[in-house]
Symmetry: D2
Subunit: 95 residues, 4 copies
């Protein structure tokens, strides 16, 4: 199970707000039925690497339908020695 | 109010686990009395830029006390046109 | 034309060096005949988004053949209003 | 010796170009006499952690003088077992 943390930054819009881009991304992720969580600075999605990069492509293309330029930051954390879930990761950090 | 998202990656330890580094960071952040939230891939801290970079330095130096090499990823999101809090950001994304 | 900046961090290898992972990535990128440049902290690859995410998947899977856990950081910068190249971007910043 | 990779993204400026922000950052870095290199997606600066976080603060504050919101991405790579320079890192990756 891999985790993909994604933040989407439209460049060149006339607004300081990016929440509509975040909401658009959440709609796409929910349409795919993926497990995710929202953080103050990104969205973290759970899945295998193929699925995660596929949704990244979709979010990227959707953003470019609305702005001339977009910068997307992605962090992928993947391990083969243990199965971990989004909830489990946050719990472990709190123990 | 700025937000700093930080992930700490020790390089060269013999373990795939980094949770002890995350817990160490949380202790430091709590010692400073800062407001934070844990995500599956990072810690997000709220504060002014001086405070946020000061705690980043502390987390960095603490990590290097335990490993020969560390890679720290930081995203700072700061705006002057509106006051936002960690909780408010997550709420807005969910609306 | 999009740009993908990728850094590959194996976790738990017991060695502070990651250069063999970087060299492995460069071999993969060259096999695909993609235009790239090496920076002190990452590799920047030029291409369309489909190609860039495809090579990211390959680099990710190759890394996990050698270590139990890997964290990959990606920044994608893409714009539709102008065609830019790796060389042009660096030149513009220097003018 | 640590390396700090920084990318500066103004949000809501109405322009897809960020080169003036990159040039402004380069002027600040040169004023401090720091060694740096420009990549297609960021600036990489060499120095000790205190100096690197100090210049990050300066770049952050300078950016907010010109836009209501800025997102700054930073990757710090630091090791105590070996002294490495910007040039040496790129050379090693090419060998």
């Amino acid at each position: 199970m891999a985790f993909l943390e994604v933040s989407i930054l439209p460049v060149g819009t006339g607004s300081s707000s990016i929440s509509s881009y975040i909401k658009g991304a959440i709609n796409e992720i929910e349409e795919e039925g993926l497990k995710y969580t929202i953080t103050p600075t990104s969205i973290v999605i759970e899945g295998d690497i193929d699925t995660l990069l596929e949704i990244s492509k979709k979010l990227h293309k959707k953003s470019l339908e609305r702005t001339n330029r977009v910068v997307i930051n992605i962090q992928i954390d993947d391990r083969t020695d243990k199965t971990v879930t989004i909830d489990r990761l946050v719990e472990t950090a709190r123990m």
